[in-house]
């Protein structure tokens, strides 16, 4: 029996919503309002699921079916009804005294409340079915919209979601700028009036820019701005925004931005290894740890410091941060080469596992009783000295933010120059085909080692700031998950793409800091993102051109297609 596409899409959509409920996401998300008293985040997520799977109903549709609302409504309704029916069955089980929660922990009263929008399961079924049908119709209608209304819809939804979810960032920033927020926000969610006002504003601005043909062209019409100086002006504006950001708003903003900056640093380093050279390094956290521990060992006041234990020196910092930094760089590069050298002959996937093994080895060693006199065991190294900067010792997140930004800029510059240099081209050649690159005279071993060393150096820079920021270096901060976080940043942004790293960090590191509700599901969502990106868009959000071509090498290329067919007439 062949199940129609629309029904199948609906069933899968229902299963996805139920899954989100069963892992507890809907319940957690329901704690967060987007618009006060109107829309909670769990509703947004459920509606989005219905919408997306209703779009799937059109995947293979053609002709009339591709423009009618039918498939979308069918899929949406099926998804809603599936969800509702299963929820009713679950509630009946619970009523019959079956202890569902002894297995599925999250099928709690709060689960039922989140899925049925606070009603009972039967009314919930009706609500879900209607919601599914509406979203299905919306999906079908959305496909038929002309460009302008489509822009309006996307802008309104995007603005409300961005401002609603980013409340914890925007409220202190607006207050810092002296703008009252009471009209816009009430307790971390948009007010109805505020949502309407910002939506209208956003739509007006968006449409105005559209008519002018883009932001830059609109900017040129401002007096004093000419096409030739528009770039520098934008640059200065951007620089002012970046520099002023931590002073607008509270310490919290500086903290979040500092963390994002840290991941930009780490991401740039890993981007060299994974993106440029095509070596999947899963033990990247090792360099992060090396940077953190070297700085901590050299600048800590505590007695677990090397000098105090081995050389019996007085428990005082050996040196300050700025002296420690170059030493750290050297140590990291040496360790990078030591780890890299023996394994570089290995093929890509073996390399990944071996680097992962190295990362674990370093973590376990740091944690062990054996090396406790040096690294302090699970407790780590405490009392790391503050960074002397601007004439004073400080661990003020705002000052550290500037330092991190400065190093990120230097790394950005180096990474950008490297990419288009002789070295960068050698890496690209090596990544695309190692044997051919070697045949063309690229010394694969040399360039692989160089990639490892560069990656290690940048990664340890990120690590160096870590103990300076927190005052301690402890093994809990250097788990495999850090490696995977950084990998996710690089992969989401686009392997080999420098702007991608910045966007990736902002999304994957900045966003979860703002959404504490996400905290628990952060890694869950990272996992899903890694899989989805690889399947749907392996080149990432902001693709590097060359890398994108490589990743789609086996797909027929439009401009190449007819050429190859013509060149091989015998095949037909």
């Amino acid at each position: 029996m062949r199940v129609p596409q629309a029904v199948r899409a609906g069933l899968i959509g229902g299963a996805v919503v139920l899954y989100l409920g069963a892992v507890g996401m809907l319940e957690r998300f329901s704690e967060r309002s987007i618009i006060v008293g109107l829309i909670r985040f769990n509703v947004v997520v459920m509606a989005a699921a219905f919408f997306v799977f209703a779009l799937f109903a059109y995947r293979r549709a053609s002709g009339e079916a591709s423009t009618s609302l039918g498939p979308g409504i069918t899929a949406g309704t099926v998804a809603g009804v599936t969800t509702g029916v299963v929820v009713i069955i679950l509630s009946l089980l619970v009523d019959a005294g079956v202890d569902v929660r002894s297995m599925f922990l999250r099928i709690s009263p709060a689960f039922f409340e989140a899925v049925t929008l606070g009603t009972n399961p039967y009314i919930g079924l009706i609500i879900l079915a209607v919601m599914g049908a509406l979203m299905g119709a919306a999906a079908g209608g959305f496909r038929r919209l002309a460009p302008t209304p489509r822009t309006i819809v996307v802008t309104v939804v995007g603005t409300v979601l961005l401002l609603g979810l980013g409340a914890r960032l925007f409220i202190p920033m607006l207050q810092g700028l002296g703008i009252p927020t009471a009209w816009l926000y009430r307790s971390d969610a948009l007010t109805i009036l505020g949502a309407i006002i910002v939506s209208v504003l956003a739509v007006v601005i968006r449409l105005y820019l559209r008519r002018k043909g883009g932001f830059r062209k609109a900017l040129v019409e401002v007096p004093g701005v000419t096409p030739s100086n528009v770039r520098p002006i934008l640059f200065v504006l951007g620089a002012i925004a970046v520099l002023a950001a931590p002073w607008i708003g509270k310490q919290f903003v500086a903290d979040v931005l500092g963390t994002v900056g840290l991941y930009i640093l780490l991401g740039l380093g890993l981007n060299i290894v994974v993106g440029y050279a095509g070596l999947l390094d899963l033990g990247y956290v090792a360099f992060f740890a090396v940077g953190a521990y070297t700085v901590a060992l050299l600048t800590a006041r505590s007695s677990s410091m090397v000098g105090a234990t081995i050389f019996d020196l007085a428990p005082e910092p050996l040196t300050n941060f700025w002296v420690a930094l170059p030493i750290t760089l050297i140590v990291a590069v040496v360790i990078g080469i030591l780890i890299g050298a023996p394994v570089l002959r290995l093929r890509g996937d073996y390399l990944a596992i071996v680097t992962l093994g190295f990362g674990e080895i370093i973590r376990v060693l740091i944690l062990s009783d054996w090396l406790k006199p040096i690294f302090g065991g699970p407790q780590g190294i405490t009392e790391v000295a503050d960074v002397p900067a601007f004439g004073a010792d400080t661990n003020d997140p705002r000052v550290l933010y500037y330092l991190i930004i400065a190093f990120a800029l230097i790394s950005l510059f180096i990474a950008g120059r490297l990419k288009n240099s002789r070295v960068g081209r050698a890496w690209a050649a090596m990544r695309e085909d190692e044997d051919i690159a070697e045949g063309m005279g690229v010394s694969v071993i040399k360039y692989k080692l160089l990639a490892f060393a560069m990656g290690a150096a940048v990664g340890c820079l990120g690590g160096a700031f870590f103990p300076a920021k927190l005052g301690v270096a402890n093994p809990g901060s250097f788990t495999l998950l850090v490696s995977i976080n950084v990998l996710a940043v690089v992969v989401l942004g686009g392997m080999g793409s420098i702007p991608g790293v910045i966007v990736g960090s902002a999304i994957l590191v900045g966003l979860p800091e703002l959404l504490r509700e996400f905290g628990e599901y952060r890694l869950h969502i990272y996992g899903a993102i890694l899989v989805m990106i690889m399947i749907l868009k392996p080149e990432g959000l902001i693709p590097d051109k060359r890398r994108a071509l490589e990743l789609h090498a086996d797909e027929p290329h439009e401009s190449v297609g007819p050429l190859t067919a013509a060149a091989t007439p015998g095949v037909q």
Binding site: L105, V354, G357, I361, D369, M534, I535
Partner: protein
């Protein structure tokens, strides 16, 4: 790789085989250190023969579990040439889910009256759950990526591993949960004059049985022959009328089922389950597969047993003599060091396919 080995003389190390010298020196240092450590440990006379025997059997039992998981890596790698990084999570899925069935069997009194049957039911159930997860994984995460560059399925696998871990954390909660005791498995059995923990006997016995049936399946049945053919050359196999997609699905199913059964055996040894229980055994099992020679079924068994033994005996034998405290903490260091050494000195593993074939 034989070609590239010759070519390496063209690299920057053209004059002297520096790399080879470094490797040999490294190998000698490690061997000497290991022997010295072992001598020092034995010289203290701190550990009796009974302790060594215990460690040995413990290593064999743990190794049997690694071997069964390693089979999943090896089968999939042999056919698709991808490292199914999420295989550890497939293992976890079966073992963790069966916890609830075991709880039911235990509270209903069935386990007390029919312990052997209960154990069989648990094995079958766990195998089914893991198989289901493995099939979903193949369908959703790997099938759309056939023919993609190597890095792509590997990153997908890492993502899938994380996703599965946190899915089950979401379903069943984050705490470590104790399994109900299976009656009749407490105490020792006397085998050949040695008294051995009963769970270990069951684990080793079951693993031998499962491995042998798999071996017979691969060697003697039509599907097994088709699997070998697909592993040999996918394109030609499909020309010979083999449905490659079906064989890949079968491979994932078998790998999943083996992982599920390994999960229950693991439970017999450690008696607890949690959402992150699969990660480290998965990594160790991969090490075992590489050690034995990835792609080889006998190699997986051999690699698993050797790794289990080294893990059980190694830290005490090699490290405790050197005066290192709490050597138990360093188990992972020992096994990952071995992985690195094997990959450097013997990249094909003990029974691996020839070098050219894997390139």
């Amino acid at each position: 790789m034989t070609i590239s080995a010759r070519r390496s003389t063209l690299g920057i190390f053209s004059r002297l085989p520096i790399r080879r010298i470094v490797l040999i020196v490294l190998g000698v240092i490690i061997t000497v250190a290991a022997i010295a450590g072992a001598r020092a440990t034995l010289a203290t006379g701190q550990y009796s023969g009974r302790v060594w025997q215990d460690l040995f059997v413990q290593g064999l039992a743990r190794g049997s579990v690694y071997a069964l998981i390693a089979l999943g890596y090896t089968l999939v790698y042999g056919i698709l040439l991808i490292i199914n990084f999420a295989h550890g999570e497939v293992f976890m899925a079966g073992a963790f889910t069966t916890l609830f069935l075991a709880g039911y069997l235990s509270s209903s009194g069935f386990m007390a009256s029919q312990p052997a049957l209960a154990l069989l039911i648990m094995l079958a159930f766990s195998a089914l759950v893991s198989m289901g997860v493995a099939l979903l994984l193949e369908r959703i995460a790997y099938r759309p990526l056939r023919g993609a560059p190597r890095l792509v399925p590997l990153i997908t696998a890492i993502g899938a591993s994380l996703f599965l871990q946190y899915t089950f954390r979401g379903f069943y909660g984050e705490q470590v949960r104790a399994y109900p005791n299976i009656p009749g498995l407490a105490g020792d059995w006397n085998i050949l004059g040695l008294s051995i923990d009963r769970p270990r006997v069951v684990v080793i016995g079951a693993a031998i049985l499962i491995w042998s049936s798999l071996y017979l399946f691969i060697e003697r049945t039509k599907t097994g022959r088709a699997m070998r053919a697909v592993g040999e050359d996918r394109e030609i196999a499909s020309l010979m009328g083999i449905d490659v997609d079906r064989i890949i699905v079968v491979t994932f199913a078998i790998g999943g089922a083996l992982a599920g059964m390994a999960g229950i055996l693991f439970i017999l040894l450690f008696n607890q389950a949690s959402f992150d229980m699969g990660f480290v055994p998965g990594l160790k099992a991969f090490t075992a597969a590489v050690l034995g020679g990835i792609g080889s079924i006998t190699g997986a068994a051999l690699g698993g047993l050797i790794l289990g033994l080294i893990e059980a005996v190694g830290p005490i034998l090699f490290l405790s003599g050197a005066g290192i405290p709490s050597v138990g903490q360093l188990t992972s260091v020992v096994s990952f060091t071995i992985l690195v050494l094997v990959l450097i000195f013997l990249p094909g593993g003990f029974l691996g396919a020839s070098e050219e074939k894997r390139a």
